[in-house]
Amino acid sequence: LAKTTQPISMDSYEGQEVNITCSHNNIATNDYITWYQQFPSQGPRFIIQGYKTKVTNEVASLFIPADRKSSTLSLPRVSLSDTAVYYCLVGALDGGSQGNLIFGKGTKLSVKP
């Protein structure tokens, strides 16, 4: 599975839009991109997943350019409760590597009042 690279940390203020970009230069044709959120003392929680172009749900949007070598998680109008670590992961559509997910270092987002 492709290795992912994302900023170690980001700061924002309440009400702002936050964009976290992840690099996955070696992504394979059969790979998809998925993002997870983790609060302290909790297990990670799924945010969004996509293969190409744009995906939107009630929580976030995911933008994937045509070459798929990067992706951007967009969080609209963040609040203090969005302070967490955000992980970008690449997974195999066909269950390669037995369907496991390999976590990178993640981005620690701090939202300030």
Binding site: S41, Q42, G43, R45, F46, A92, Q98
Partner: protein, 114 residues
């Protein structure tokens, strides 16, 4: 969605002893995984425990140290054997029902070895 319950939530253990962590899923799932997470660090995959096959361990983890059971589609255990202070960490159970489906995580087991 799936709800994952882990037991115990935390424990303090003497070095040289073993601890078995239980992971119960409220629905049948094909894939289950065990991770370790040091405070302030990312998750490290220990092993994959898919139904119908032996657990597969990642580099640096061995079955003698971390034996895993997967008796059915809703339950798994991870044993941390012959513990040392270096085993102090948070251990997380995860489950998903397909290769590109959402993965669910338990709240973790905080283990301290003294």
């Amino acid at each position: 969605s799936a709800v994952i319950s882990q037991k115990p939530s935390r424990d303090i253990c003497q070095r040289g002893t073993s601890l078995t962590i239980q992971c119960q899923v409220d629905s049948q799932v094909t894939m289950m995984f065990w991770y370790r997470q040091q405070p302030g660090q990312s998750l490290t995959l220990i092993a994959t425990a898919n139904q119908g096959s032996e657990a597969t361990y990642e580099s640096g983890f061995v079955i003698d140290k971390f034996p895993i059971s997967r008796p059915n589609l809703t339950f798994s255990t991870l044993t941390v054997s012959n513990m040392s202070p270096e085993d102090s960490s948070i251990y997380l159970c995860s489950a998903r029902d397909g290769p590109n489906t959402e993965a669910f995580f338990g709240q973790g087991t905080r283990l301290t070895v003294v």
